[in-house]
Amino acid sequence: MNEEDWVELLREAHREPIDPAHYAAVRARVLSELGRERRPAWRWAWALAVVAVVAAVAPMPHPAPVGQALRPAIVPEATARVYGPAAPAPVAVVGHRRRPSRHEGRPKGLPHQEPVVIKLLTDDPNVVIYWIGE
């Protein structure tokens, strides 16, 4: 077999037709891939449309009752107004921490007790009465 013979034999093998199904398979794969590449734009459009419809149709949620639940708890001040029978003057009860003297030691084992200080306001702003109770 000389060179021309085997080159011709090679050409003959190369010219042999390929099954059309193989071509069709390639074309189908290419077209499918191209179709898939185009699809995302439609997907996004559909998704946006669905979101818009749901937003339009869905009932608005009822707002939570305004008030106690959301408002911070009001801590009652340690003040009270007491109106005396003779002179109706506001009375403020203020928790006042008396500064302990250096010599005054606290008995060990006993809980610390705050002295009660009552501030009495009179009609005269220059006159304030403090009442300290042990």
Binding site: W6, L10, R11, A13, H14
Partner: protein, 191 residues
């Protein structure tokens, strides 16, 4: 009825007989036109890839990749007569990439299987030739397939391979020597 038939005939002639119009339609996103373009060049791509890769499955993968690249580069191809040269170049490159990723079955083992067939009939000789093709280096195989099998000129092969004509001539010469040696060994064994 006659008018409709005539219109259909004119329509089909428009789409299939004018390559530039087919390309323009495919470029505009007409997949039917692109399908027609693939039909016109499918043999070129698949047969070349089959000879370069030696496996129909790999050749189909390569063809798919080549046609996808063609679709994405239609805008750069102004004239339809540029397409075959472009397809050869891209097919060679895609087959190079696929060949690097996948290790082909050892041709030596297949050659032993072919040699076991007795007597060496026409089909056996052809198969031995195909095996000799696969024993070449990648560049030599590309040169032989494009020059001897696809019938391109040396200049066209050089452009497809991105090398010089002198290099292509040298590669073809070396390839033929190797193939001859392989076939002589094979046929001597058969005698």
């Amino acid at each position: 009825m006659r008018t409709l038939a005539l219109a259909a005939k004119v329509g089909s002639m428009d789409s299939s007989d004018d390559p530039s119009r087919t390309i323009a339609a495919a470029r505009a996103g007409d997949l039917a036109a692109f399908d027609l373009l693939m039909r016109q060049h499918q043999r070129l791509v698949l047969a070349t890839a089959l000879r370069l890769l030696g496996s129909l499955e790999d050749a189909q993968d390569a063809s798919q990749e080549v046609f996808l690249k063609l679709y994405r580069n239609l805008g750069k191809l102004e004239r339809s007569d540029n397409i075959p040269a472009w397809l050869y170049r891209v097919t060679v490159n895609v087959c190079h990439d696929i060949g690097r990723k996948r290790r082909a079955t050892a041709p030596v083992e297949e050659a032993e299987a072919v040699a076991a067939c007795d007597p060496p009939d026409h089909a056996g000789r052809r198969r031995a030739l195909m095996l000799s093709l696969r024993r070449l280096s990648e560049r030599e195989r590309v040169a032989v397939v494009l020059r001897d099998l696809e019938g391109l000129s040396t200049g066209e092969v050089a452009r497809a391979m991105g090398s010089s004509e002198a290099t292509v001539r040298s590669q073809i010469s070396q390839a033929r020597v190797k193939m001859r040696e392989f076939l002589e060994r094979y046929f001597r064994r058969r005698v």
